[in-house]
């Protein structure tokens, strides 16, 4: 019984998702908006029953250690569910205009959310794989959601092919680890690694990390990111950039710390390389982009690099920094995409060029102001909340005696500041381009204002509760 209480959020989402699917099957696409609200409601309900959220709720291991219902999973799940719910609500009005919104959309996001929940709770290599695949399969469909659009179909195919390859690599790594340690439980793997890392185990470790690096879009496994981001419908891109990144990052942290903790010295070099390579490539490659979606894809690569600095630092401080980073990053990236969703020309067609942002501060001052907040925040300029996660990550690196890493990473952050500034320059300094079509999206506007407020200096007031929650979550792994 205890086991089922611990997986209550997943149960709620599974049963609810199946019911919603039935409604979608009989109700047709007209039921889309209703299903979206129901889906968001289900995510809220699931969030309430996440182990450790309600005072006095049980936490612990379920199903003989396959599934962890600890505070680490709880933190990640709350962030993921929030991201998924917002991604769902954002999409509704965007698709609605062309009457191409279909009722499967919220259902797919729900299934993806179940997968993500399993990812962050996985305490076993196979649970990990099942969760990852559940999330990915839903994501492949979502990428190709606009069936009439060839770019969307292309994005879905690319994502699927490369994702399948990454899954193969991951499975190969898992099989190696299993073969050399004789177990798939994280604790078991860790126990075996503690008495020296054999060559076979090392190979397994490298392959697992490579597979997961693909999922978080870290260099050198980032190639799919810009193409998929550009091709997928904008709300889907927003979803990809937010919750699944958090889930994959949390998963990577748990595998690295719990399963491979004794081999920290071995994986640390890999993580440091991926971190610095992501920061540099995410910074340099974004500069020449013309599409805002591609730019944000490189921005996500860049941000993943910074989060990996926290993982490289490891320890409670490092893990807490990664969690905080991903939580704040989720808000910033969803907020940015809410602005992107409002980029439509006079006929209402979506626009994606950066050039079309020119002079936005004069045609749509509030929208430009919100975007400027997100851009400065993504750049990590102090005063805005985006500075804080970067600060924590560097602090963790310095505490872990990795001062050189912090120095290199922070110097590289100036490169990425350049292209965020470029967006602000377009909006504020340039002469106006044709104005975007006006939008009436009360839900979207409310979400936009909320995320802008979180990212604004007011966010600093959240440092204490957020820091405490992240530290409690991180302590669950040690």
């Amino acid at each position: 019984m205890q086991d089922f209480i611990l997986i209550l959020p997943e149960l709620i989402l599974t049963v609810g998702g199946l019911v919603l699917m039935l409604i979608a099957a009989w109700g047709g696409d007209k039921s889309g908006p209703l299903l979206t609200w129901l889906g968001a409601l289900l995510l809220v309900a699931a969030a309430v029953f996440v182990p450790g959220v309600l005072p006095g709720s049980a936490t612990g291991m379920a199903f003989g250690g396959l599934f962890a219902g600890d505070s680490f999973a709880a933190f990640a799940k709350l962030v993921i569910y929030a991201g998924a719910a917002v991604a769902m609500l954002m999409a509704m009005s965007w698709f609605g205009r062309d009457r191409d919104y279909r009722a499967e959309y919220p259902v797919l996001i729900l299934f993806s959310a179940i997968g993500m929940g399993m990812m962050v709770s996985a305490n076993d290599l196979l649970t990990l794989y099942v969760g990852l695949e559940l999330q990915s399969l839903a994501a492949y469909v979502l990428a190709a959601f606009q069936r009439s659009d060839t770019r969307s179909a292309e994005a879905g195919l690319k994502y699927f092919v490369l994702g399948a390859l990454a899954s193969g690599i991951l499975l190969y790594g898992i099989s190696l680890l299993y073969g050399f340690t004789g177990t798939t439980l994280f604790e078991g793997v860790a126990a075996k690694l503690a008495d020296g890392v054999a060559t076979g185990e090392l190979f397994g470790l490298v392959f697992v990390l490579a597979g997961l690096a693909f999922k978080i879009g870290a260099v050198p496994f980032h190639m799919w990111t810009p193409d998929v981001y550009e091709g997928a419908p904008s709300p889907v891109t927003a979803f990809f950039a937010s919750a699944p990144k958090v889930a994959a990052m949390a998963l990577l942290v748990r595998v690295s710390v719990e399963a491979m903790g004794p081999a920290t010295e071995q994986w640390r070099q890999i993580v440091i390389f991926a971190a610095l390579a992501s920061i540099v490539l995410g910074g340099v490659a974004a500069i020449g982009q013309r599409s805002i979606k591609r730019l944000l894809a490189y921005s996500s690569i860049n941000n993943v690099g910074f989060a990996l600095v926290g993982l490289a630092a490891s320890g409670v401080a490092g893990v807490a920094a990664v969690l905080t980073y991903m939580a704040v990053y989720l808000v910033m990236t969803l907020g940015t995409f809410m602005v992107v969703l409002r980029m439509r020309d006079a006929e209402g067609r979506p626009v994606e060029t950066i050039a079309s942002l020119a002079g936005l501060s004069q045609t749509r001052p509030m929208l430009a102001f919100a975007m400027a907040i997100f851009m400065f925040s993504l750049a990590g300029i102090p005063g805005l909340f985006g500075f804080w996660p970067k600060f924590l990550v560097f602090d963790a690196a310095v505490q872990a005696q990795l001062t050189w890493l912090a120095v290199v990473a922070i110097a590289m952050s100036v490169i990425s500041a350049f292209y965020y500034l470029m967006i602000v320059k377009k909006m504020y300094f340039d002469t106006p381009a044709p104005a975007y079509a006006p939008t009436r999206e009360p839900v979207g506007s409310a979400l936009l204002v909320i995320s802008a407020l979180i990212v604004s200096p007011l966010g600093y007031l959240a440092i204490k509760p957020l820091g405490e929650a992240a530290t409690t979550a991180a302590q669950a792994l040690f």
Binding site: F391, A417, I463
Partner: protein, 522 residues
Amino acid sequence: MANFPILSVLLALPVLGAIACLLTDAAKARWIALLTTLGVFVLAIGMWATFQVGGPQWQFTEYQTLFGKFSWALGIDGIALMLIVLTAFLMPICILASWRSIEKRVPEFMACFLFMETLMIGVFAAQDLYLFYIFFEAGLIPMYLIIGIWGGANRIYAAYKFFLYTLLGSVLMLIAMLWMVNYAGTTSIPALMETDFPVEAQNWLWLAFFASFAVKMPMWPVHTWLPDAHVQAPTAGSVILAGVLLKMGGYGFVRFSLPMFPEASGTLIWIVFGLSMVAVVYTSLVALVQQDMKKLIAYSSVAHMAFVTIGLFAFNRQGIEGGLIVMLAHGLVSGALFLCVGVVYDRMHTREIGQYGGLSNNMPKYAFFFMFFTMASVGLPGTANFVGEFLALIGAYQANTWVAAVATSGIILGAAYMLYLYWRMAYGTARTAEAAAMPDLDKREFLLLAPLAAATLWMGVYPESFMAPMRGDVEILLERIDRARPQSDSQPTPGRPAAAAPAGHGESHGAAPAPAAEGAHH
């Protein structure tokens, strides 16, 4: 009064004003901004009046553990007090200077300036290391917008350069701060000022802070962002840049580099002296050949800031007090000079010196003020700059005679480029018809320049008002850094007993020794 959180109010007031500006139209925004800055100025004066000279080192302290890892800790000593007063004094002048010259997007402009004011006051009032960093860095955002939106033709390049240059300078400082807090276990600046960091680590930390402050200051060779930013920024932007933002570098040296890393300051003093010597001579020569008024004054700022660094790192009372006074004086005088440029720029829309000439004929009042501030910039006795530069040079002589000799040559060069500028602007006959037809100062412009002239004169004639609050803090700083004082090459040997005692030189009180001073200048 004791429990009134005056610093928090000083920080909150401009923010509220900025939000109010954003919500109204241009005409109202101007008045809101002016009233807000005047209100802040009154509060700052009140703070100055109630500041206990010789009282506790840190006054008006506030402490709230709001942010977990760091806290809302505010408090000022005499140095910070004077810089806050300078900021509050310059802000209403900036707003008035932009009254007519800024025509587009006025509410946003005023809001940017008010945000800027909060951030500048925050830098000087912060008593928490991270809080300081946040204020220090966040100032880049409004300044980027001010230069980029309301600047001149090449504003975008200048805005990028300003932002990225100063950001790159500062990020290393953040890592150094993280290391320091990790070592000392506290984020409180007063506590860190008394922490002895391991000598081997000090050099690295010092260099990281130096990278940031040297760019802000700016010191040669990382000064190149300044002429670009100054030339492209609107007049008020230049005033605030020269008046306050550059002072953050000097403030950083006094607050962080010297007391926190005394040994490193002693060992690496050659970097400071070397760069400052180059700056004094090189940028003065560059200023001599400028055709653009704003560029000329910008380069003169770099030269003046070199006096600040020389003075601050002289490791003696005269030097440090002199450096601080130069900071204040330069804030007034270069701000005023930029306003003088702004006055003619508003009429002719060119900064090229060759377009003007003979202004003393048709603009006598303007010519008077311009002359006054030119003389002040040269360091004429009786003006603020003289006091500071003279003290800084005395201090420098005690620390290193070569540095003093080279720096003194800067005063002569300074006189050359400023007088040359004044000659080309004000004397002779007008080179263009437009220049000859320019009307003299109107009431608003008079109102801008007169207070600055009064303050310059006050600081020059009775500097004690400005030195008194800072004296105790300089004393504490001297006690702290005395152990690391580098060997001086100025070793006065006792001559015939009838001559002055050897201690006489070192002990001479440097408040205003007027007769000796004139000798140093001519």
